[in-house]
């Protein structure tokens, strides 16, 4: 019985590997340059790179109210 389990598992593994072997792949150089250009294109929308203007920052410190 354990033999049939092993066979079933092995069969699944082979099927899975066949699928993965069939996946279309791209060269690292191409993938890298695509990722980099995506990064550069979106850089101006990235608050971690560009910063958040104080007027638009909902979390900026509020000055305490002074009662005159």
């Amino acid at each position: 019985m354990s033999a049939t389990n092993n066979v079933a598992q092995a069969r699944k593994l082979v099927e899975q590997l066949r699928i993965e072997a069939g996946v279309q792949r791209v060269k690292v150089s191409k993938a890298s340059s695509e990722l980099m250009s995506y990064c550069e294109q979106h850089a101006r929308n990235d608050p971690l790179l560009v910063g958040v203007p104080a007027s638009e920052n909902p979390f900026k410190d509020k000055k305490p109210c002074v009662i005159l």
Binding site: N6, V7, V28, S32, L35
Partner: protein
């Protein structure tokens, strides 16, 4: 009987050798395409300047380790869950607690905000993922409206709503991920392939398709097709548990963080 046994052994041996040769072929293919390193392509890019971070708010209220959090799409509310069994919804602008629910278990390892902002999902050692509609009606207790959606046979490690409030994707210590219909609690698709606990998952950015990536204690990161349940690609480059995975915003890449002290991209 004896011949059956022999036949099975033969098949097992041929399958194993086919598996080995396929693995070898995959490695060859990957090596062929590995013509350059990312940092070489990026050589001429200016390094980022000093990154200044400032703590703007501290949300106090959990009694023990905070295990998970998620932002609401309104960019204001946050849901967080803790080892103490509590799940809290915060208004991050005011630091007020808007909702709190005590789970029937400790170690609430996963929580997520629904895209509509009207519900949260959470779970942990209870082996379930439950959805709580958020109500401001003081007469209604959140716990009363609880809906158990996902049932696993081990702890819930991660959960995420898909594009709508109607479906939830879960990852579990039972080694599987699963896609559930919230309304009926029905299992829509299960994802088998990890050899150990699944610790994390991340959905692909919605524009790019129906996949998600998961990471597990088997050191693997796996990319799945949500519709077929098929593992599309597996990555085994870490030397220890993969604790966290995140898609790159373009959907073309993902990063993984591991107990081996590295982040892979």
């Amino acid at each position: 009987m004896a011949t059956d046994g022999l036949h099975e052994n033969e098949t097992l041996a041929t399958l194993k050798s086919e598996a080995e040769s396929l693995k070898g072929k995959l490695e060859e293919e990957r090596a062929k395409l590995h013509d350059v390193e990312l940092h070489q392509v990026a050589e001429r890019v200016e390094a980022l300047g000093q990154f200044v971070m400032k703590t703007r708010r501290t949300l106090k209220g959990h009694g023990n380790k905070v295990l998970c959090m998620d932002w609401c799409k309104d960019k204001r509310r946050i849901v967080s869950s803790s080892q103490d069994g509590k799940v809290i919804v915060w208004d991050s602008f005011t630091t007020n607690k808007e909702h709190a629910v005590t789970m029937p278990c400790t170690w609430v390892m996963a929580c997520a905000y629904a895209p509509s902002g009207c519900a949260i999902a959470c779970g942990g050692l209870d082996n379930k993922c439950s959805v709580y509609p958020l109500t401001f009606d003081k007469n209604e207790s959140m716990a009363a409206k609880k809906k158990s959606v996902a049932m696993h046979t081990n702890y819930l490690s991660a959960c995420s709503f898909t594009n709508s409030d109607m479906q939830i994707l879960t990852a579990s210590g039972d080694g599987t991920c699963a896609l559930w219909d919230v309304e009926s609690g029905q299992l829509l698709q299960s994802f088998h392939g990890h050899g150990a606990d699944v610790l994390c998952l991340d959905l692909a950015p919605s524009e790019t398709g129906n996949t998600f990536v998961s990471g597990g204690c088997d050191k693997k990161s796996m990319v799945w097709d949500m519709r077929s349940g098929q593992c599309v690609q597996a990555f085994e480059t870490h030397e220890s548990d993969v604790n966290s995975v995140r898609y790159y915003p373009s959907g073309d890449a993902f990063a993984s963080g591991s107990d081996d002290a590295t982040v892979c991209f």
